[in-house]
Symmetry: C3
Subunit: 490 residues, 3 copies
């Protein structure tokens, strides 16, 4: 054998040894990677869980998890509406920066529309780093093949692509079938069949129970795969329509208000589902090493039975009630029990936090607006001292907007006066401090102004008229939005 | 030799054997891949070929091909204008989805403008799968280097990049030279020299004859290459200017109308050209294995000698006369003779149909709006039962739009009333059935609404004023376009 | 050893020999690649250097370089404002084509905003071809990580990312620290600390001297690297604020006007800095093989002490004074001494010229609007006979625009009358020839019209109000901009 061949063999051996090394590293990593269970509720009020003080509504199982985990008193989502909030969650970016700041069009089959495929979801990063991944429940991020959960990082999907669903699919599917039979094609999505990996399924259980059942099924499949797993369990509850099981309603005879009573029963079904899943995790010896996150996509609707007390307003608002969410993280092996974390955290933080935890590789050039908050949670310090969390909702011809920085929040609604609150002391936003701190307010407004420059024009609207209004009003009219109160500048 | 080396050799042998296998497969494939000859006419009327019933106009050679192939009675193009129709043909996408829904700017040398390079043409897919590819005739898809046929999948190009050309290049090139001599630079494109692969050529023949001659020349070159080949032969005829050879005019003494007579003579020259090419294919034993497609880019102009009878209106219209096209496919080895296919097919279908036929690899992530129609043609069934084919033309401040689904067509022009036709029974669109079938109409309108959400704003306009109007009118005003007639909703 | 193994060894030897060959070629190339020193001043008047005729201002060192190099009498930049001019310089494209036709937002930290990363800078091409690269001074092309010099082809960066800076950083940094101490966050960028590769530095020297010092430091570091090098030295001078050293002011007792006097002193500091660098190049035996380019980013401000005589108007104008720049190239080893080049050249030409010179590989698909002008400089002929150089500045509701072709220039300001000048004979643009040459004017307007089709809508504006105005006025209103004078068409 000549010199060249020996040289080749040496290179080959190096490569071979490197393979062995990485296999070893990987095997090691596999052992320590936690499973991740993210439970997202829909339109759940800040005050509507026991661990946040609810008296009439009962969530005993959630409360136990919260007490044994870390609760967050200042957790925010990316937008006070479902679609943009979820677009932010999965992309780790403010939905305004990727043109996803509106809910998807209501018309069925708006096929080319969905959260831009260039924005890799964190579910994909987890999948690529060796996780077995599943989504169960509501999607609402695009219906065409390229936007489907199975195209965006989920090995498994059970649920519905629409923005909502009836809770008694057995009944609604009959209405659906009758319309199909009559030749109709543009049928209300809430009554369409659920699907499993793209194929329709005939579901008979109450929706929340069905999703809990499928979550358990996924966990078994995941365990069999021997991979670490990530489950995104997106309950439709307690989003409208207000529909509950009789047995759950029967638990709340003390609630007079019919809407509140049904809402309470819907939340109870979620609590029951979580209990069922936790039991299963314990039974299969996975509970200790599963990181469980619980929160909501936006605030509760005050006109639909929810309460965000002591926060002001609700879903759709940039006041605290619109986008501050009840939240806990439970992770027996990784987090100390019984903490309460008071600094602001953001749903956009989950992308870097979870992908770091999983040892995932975020694609080169991918921008992220959040932070890995795990070190801050462990130390109890703020993850973003001096940095703002933003929220913005467009209306006809104007934008509501707010920035939270440390204990402060500057907010403007309907082009009214700028207000400044100490939301740590005053979470109900009752005492306006803008006259006391005009320079602080000006700095916060400058933060928002700077942030707004990287917004994209919306890629879609909820209905055609909204898009026309946007153009006719020459939106965004940020020169008006960020007008400063006189005298606040140096 | 040690273990490692033996291992290497085994891998090497596997690779080697795999190469041999693929070579064999490829050689096999080469034998069976058909040549493809796509003949596209320009502004040819639906009724202006013998095989569609023309009496005064003569197309004996086309008729023979049609009779021995499959004729299509409901073939549609992507837009009732040249540019967007061709953009759709080559990209396989509705031109509205790629911002190409207007003809390119009239001003000479609008260099940065052309059909987006991200949209791989099917010619490129064919080329990449081993086809020798040529384009002869009109291009109209962008003039800069990156939009040139040679950059978009064509080994050979003879013709002109502009939207049209004079038919007697010998004369027009003299006028052109005189203007150049006088120092002028913004010279009417119709009189510029033809080109071959980017270099100007001095052409002396009547344009249609010159293009037929070059088609034959390409076929010889392709045969010499031993590759299967694809030729896109885009005749300028019978697009304006109405200019014919004396000998062709002499064939139609019976036509009184001067425009119609010239138009007929121009179509005759196309027919003669096709005959010449077919003869050559036969002589070179390629006729049997060449798939020949014949159609037009949009309807005929009623004010320029064309007839779309029995269809209503013509070029530029979303009535049938605007975008239903005379069409046949002839393929001796692959298709049964003498069929007529009555289900709707679309020019967007050619992309998947031809690339599948060629065993081509469509780029990952490339979206296509059409279907492979070959199985449906072979079975005689519809390729898209229950699915709509759309057409839309923007005007100042509004959009004309229509959807064809199965036998039905819903159409709205100039924001007038929605109408519904059974275009299988009533191709002339005379009997409005919208009052009889309000729910069907509503479903078709919902289809169009959903489709419209994936439109892009136009990347260019024909003239600057159109772009200004688009912005000033806050187009698209789809909330008006898709207003439903009262009572049509559930 | 079997046949397969012998085959492998042969391939290996081929690869090995090829490596040796390329190493040899590369070593050869390394020897001959010149260093490149690009000195860009800010708002320097056409008439404010000795080599262009200045009497009161003294630039003896620049003058010597100019006399021993090639001076350019018709050198243009891409835009009459700083930001777009530099965006054009680095991308080789008209800033209008990449949405960069406005200065970046004034608000601090507009993070997502900067010259699109898809447009590879020529500094990156040089870096990739083996150059050691440095930027010293003003950046003004985006502040976020992805837009930072270190992300766009520069190994080293010393300076500031903002659009300008105070000249006495020692003083301004104290004001800055006091505001930080007071909790302010939106602090005027001109007083922020300078940085080195992303980390703030405490600077005490007069800004222009500090930048010259860092240039020398870079050159030493570059020499030690043994790579050829490229230094982009972007002096802030003589941009406002008008601040000069006492010793420099003392040189100009003869200038009465206070602004002019300070301005002259600021230019003197630049001249001194260049002298210092040239001395260092000579001392380290690099002067002969260093190509030195000197120019300005746009015209001087007549209200801030500058003179563009004999050119008309200044910074911000599309008259010659706005974007014709004083320029020379000195390259002892490569260019004959003492030439004056009178044909139009463009800052966009540097991209292809310098990357060709460096043997760099421009990314596939990258579009460039300029030309490699080195052959033309060597031959003394025009680099673009018959081709236009464009300039356009948007104002509220309209655009100022001009095209220079050969000796001619067509220009329109504030939608006034089109004018035509022979700017070779009449650089002051005093004699309108549009009535004499209506067809020539029409051709030039058609050139501009065609060019404008490839513009992108601005990706940002200087302030929010400008963006709103753009939308409200339905800009660009090019159907008005390119209206031709009556009678100018054939």
């Amino acid at each position: 054998m000549g010199m060249v061949n020996r040289h080749f063999i040496r290179i080959f051996w190096y490569a071979y040894l490197m393979c062995l090394f990485f296999q070893a590293v990987y095997a090691e990593a596999k052992v320590t990677k936690p499973n991740i269970l993210m439970i997202l509720t829909d339109d759940l009020g800040y005050a509507d869980v026991g661990f946040n003080g609810a008296k009439d509504i009962k969530t005993p199982n959630l409360d136990v998890l919260a007490q044994n985990g870390v609760t967050f008193t200042s957790a925010y989502v990316a937008h006070p509406f479902c679609g943009p909030s979820r677009a932010g969650l999965f992309t780790g970016r403010y939905p305004h920066k990727i043109g996803s700041q509106y809910n998807l069009p209501t018309v069925k089959g708006a096929g080319g529309i969905g959260v831009p495929v260039e924005e890799t979801y964190f579910s994909r990063v987890l999948q690529d780093s060796g996780y077995f991944t599943g989504a169960v429940g509501k999607w609402h991020l695009g219906e065409a093949r390229q936007y489907h959960p199975n195209s965006r990082g989920f090995d498994e999907f059970f649920g519905f692509l629409n923005g909502g669903h009836d809770y008694f699919p057995d009944q609604s599917s009959k209405r659906y079938a009758a319309l199909v039979e009559a030749g109709r094609t543009n049928i209300y999505g809430y009554i369409a069949p659920l699907e499993y990996n793209g194929s329709p399924v005939q579901e008979t259980e109450y929706l929340t129970d069905a999703l809990s059942r499928e979550a358990v099924k996924f966990i078994d499949k995941a365990k069999a795969s021997t991979q670490p797993w990530f489950l995104y369990l997106a309950y439709n509850a307690p989003h409208t329509p207000l529909q509950a099981k009789e047995e759950d309603l029967a638990v709340f005879p003390h609630i007079q208000d019919a809407k509140r009573r049904t809402y309470a029963a819907m939340v109870l079904a979620v609590d029951r589902g979580v209990a069922r899943i936790v039991d299963h995790l314990k039974k299969t010896h996975q509970f200790e090493n599963t990181l469980i996150i619980f929160f909501s996509d936006n605030g509760g609707r005050l006109d639909q039975g929810a309460s965000n007390s002591p926060l002001s307003e609700g879903k759709g608002s940039v006041m605290e009630g619109g986008y501050r969410t009840p939240m806990f993280i439970h992770w027996a092996e990784g987090l100390e029990r019984g903490q309460s974390y008071r600094h602001p955290v953001h749903a956009l933080d989950f992308y870097p936090t979870l992908t770091n935890l999983a040892g995932g590789q975020v694609p080169e050039g991918k921008q992220l607006d959040g932070k890995d908050i795990l070190p801050a949670i462990l130390s109890g310090e703020s993850a973003r001292p001096g940095e703002s969390i933003f929220v913005m909702r467009h209306r006809k011809g104007l934008s509501d907007v707010a920035a939270r920085r440390d204990r402060w929040k500057a907010v403007r609604v309907a082009n009214g006066a700028w207000r400044l609150f100490d939301v740590e002391e005053d979470p109900g936003e009752t005492t306006d401090l803008s006259e006391q701190y005009p320079k602080l307010l000006a700095d916060l407004v400058a933060d928002m102004d700077a942030w707004s420059w990287s917004h994209e024009h919306p890629r879609w609207f909820h209905i055609q008229k909204e898009g026309f209004d946007w153009r006719e009003d020459n939106m965004p009219r940020f020169h008006e939005t960020f007008e400063l109160p006189t005298g606040s500048l140096d």
